[in-house]
Symmetry: C2
């Protein structure tokens, strides 16, 4: 049922991507479509119109997750799910999330064109609030669906203006009747831009994503003592920024000690009082480590806190380190991954296996449903940025792989 003559329409895919990008378009060519705002609502409505034009049945759950269903020949089979998210960052790009949803739409449109019915039903998914920019919890819709967060917890989250998720869902009319919890499904496939530089650097057209990294995240506070920069001699200083600099250097060294698979970052840092002529008495910063292997992250979590505390204490300051969470490595389903691999081989696309360095709805879904992801390259590895960019042929190749993997899975002999 899948053969080289069943092609998705790359132009139609690109046109629909650009049409979705009009909703929340920014002057710099990006997208601002924050979850559960009126702009998000407009995107959802356009998506619904496109789905209903195909005769798909739209279902919305209590977290606003949207499922557009195409029936299969065999109603006893579990559905094959595919999709991503339509919400964006405040200064996001056109492709982060939207690619996976619109490519899924193109899969549905191609099957309609071909008048092909798969054995298993298909459901095209738009997960609510993957980005987490507005309410502070990324992967929120898929997280509740997968049982990671409770719906009550999600409903109570507030944005900076005090609006709750529950109120926001009501305001845009997307608090659906169906409970937001996992239902049995046969598989989940998600196409997404890589959001990293590796595929582009290696001139690969497709990434065969084998899983997601283990992670550990910390909040750090270094406490020293504010003092006058001109009057305080070296022996009496407790410079929290000098101390923090040692930890920043340690984090970078720990990453590099683990080779190209290592990730260690201090992304957020705030100095207090941040006055030119005051020796800083407090520095607050974030630390995160990521690695494909749980053993590496567990090893870091066992040694990093004490090493960092020692370096800080030598400056006369104090380190308070709070582990915020640890995420285990999430391997994807080998059979699903293999379908992706086979599709790239059949299509003659240059591809490589890759670990997802970013969080995705697929990572939570994978806890309940056999899952695989497909990556496309993106220019300069740039994402969460209005200049985020991919080529039409890259979108087309990724969508064709999605099509072939979905159809192969939906038609597999049981």
């Amino acid at each position: 049922m899948s053969g080289t003559n069943q092609r998705i329409d790359g132009k139609r895919l690109w046109d629909s991507l650009m049409a979705m990008a009009e909703i929340g378009a920014t002057p710099k060519g990006g997208v601002k479509r924050l979850t559960l705002t009126d702009v998000d609502k407009a995107g959802r409505q356009r998506f619904t119109a496109w789905c209903e034009a195909l005769g798909l049945t739209m279902r919305v759950d209590a977290m606003g997750n949207m499922f557009a269903r195409r029936e299969g020949r065999d109603p006893t089979r579990l559905p094959v799910l595919f999709g991503s998210h339509l919400d964006s960052q405040p200064t996001g790009g056109k492709f982060d999330g939207a690619l996976g949803v619109i490519a899924g739409l193109e899969v549905m449109r191609t099957l309609a064109d071909l008048n092909v019915v798969t054995e298993a039903p298909l459901e095209l998914v738009n997960w609510t609030d993957e980005e987490g920019s507005r309410f502070g919890h990324s992967l929120m819709g898929s997280g509740v669906w997968a049982g990671i967060y409770t719906q009550d917890k999600a409903y109570g989250l507030k944005d900076v203006d005090g609006v709750t998720v529950s109120d926001a869902l009501d305001a845009i009319g997307y608090k659906g009747a169906h409970p937001a919890k996992p239902f049995p499904a046969d598989a989940y496939f998600e196409l997404h831009i890589e959001q990293g530089p590796i595929l582009e650097r290696e001139a690969k057209q497709v990434g065969i994503v084998t899983g997601a990294q283990a992670q550990v995240w910390y909040d750090a506070v270094v406490t020293g003592r504010d003092s006058h920069a001109g009057t305080t001699p070296p022996s009496l200083r407790r410079d929290a920024l000098v101390a923090a600099a040692r930890v920043i250097t340690l984090v970078d060294n720990l990453m590099r000690a683990r080779g190209e698979d290592g990730r260690g970052t201090v992304g957020f840092l705030q100095v207090l009082p941040a006055s030119r002529n005051v020796v800083p008495g407090e520095v607050r910063f974030s630390v995160e480590f990521r690695h494909p292997l749980d053993a590496e992250i567990d090893g870091l979590a066992a040694t990093f806190p004490a090493e960092a505390a020692r370096l800080v204490a030598e400056t006369g300051c104090r380190l308070d380190l709070t582990e915020l969470f640890r995420i285990p490595a999430q391997p994807f389903d080998p059979a699903c991954v293999d379908l992706v691999r086979q599709a790239t081989q059949r299509l003659g696309l240059s591809a490589r296996e890759i670990i997802s360095g970013a969080g995705h709805d697929a990572v939570y879904v994978a806890r309940n449903v056999p899952t695989a992801m497909i990556f496309t390259p993106c220019k300069d590895g740039l994402s969460h940025n209005e200049a985020e960019s991919i080529l039409p042929e890259e979108a087309e190749a990724g969508c064709q792989v999605l099509f072939e993997a979905v159809v192969a899975r939906a038609n597999r002999t049981a």
Copy 2:
């Protein structure tokens, strides 16, 4: 004319300090009396009332600098000036600046009580905007008076609301008729809290200030590249915060290499985009070095930029370093310093010579007038802080030294 029987009134001094501290008092026990605000005006008016009650003649110049004159026996002599500043930090203490002005008032009151007239005239000074918090230029009033800044430049400075210095002077009615420029004077003495920890640590009652440090100030920008913390491998990172950490460490090392006289500080630092999961692409920070010797500062200014740029370049980032200004060391007048020294010896006070680590009006005045400063200890070396604190007996001792130095200078045989 100066003898151990001529004593200032420590209680009256303390009461007046506390009375001035009521103007702009904060809940935490500090003072917010920003220059050229209505609160500053109230402080100036109270000061004027106190001066006029003594029969002093008040003169205000075009920068709002206030000079309260007591005539001497010999009108041909140049006046001896003494004072400090009544404006404060936004979260300032009761003593920074106010001590020098109110102690000067106590000198005048004591002379009046004793019915003593000095040979030379005396002028008690309140310099406008020593702190620089509101308009961005510290030592503004004394700076124009001493010819460091032009009056036009000062008049055009704006606060965050766009109000100019010129408008603010008019608004509170302190744009005086007299031109703000140096006039001939015999000497200038300024009593001030140390704003540092040295006198307290060494249990000294008085600091004999021999001069002020040489300084060099920079703005630094490290430019790397924003990228995703999860997807960007070590080899492709240009982490501006890792690069900045190297410079922070260098600044601290350069300070410590110069022993207890060294000062090197990164006080302000801002990370962009300051997002937990984004490798920082830009860091902006301040650097300053101070030292009693010009040669040390000139040596640092010759080597630091290249060394810092090299450390940053090794991380793949770029450093843009801008030298903002260099201040030469300012020695104080040996004869004036010696009067301070003699007073401490005569009074049996424990004292030590000290370099001023902070900027003061005296440093600018010293370019035109033989100058010396007197320091009192302050608790924990704390200043620019509502908890700033000195003891009544420390204020009294400093004031007595001021009295004796001023009177000795004003009565010196020509």
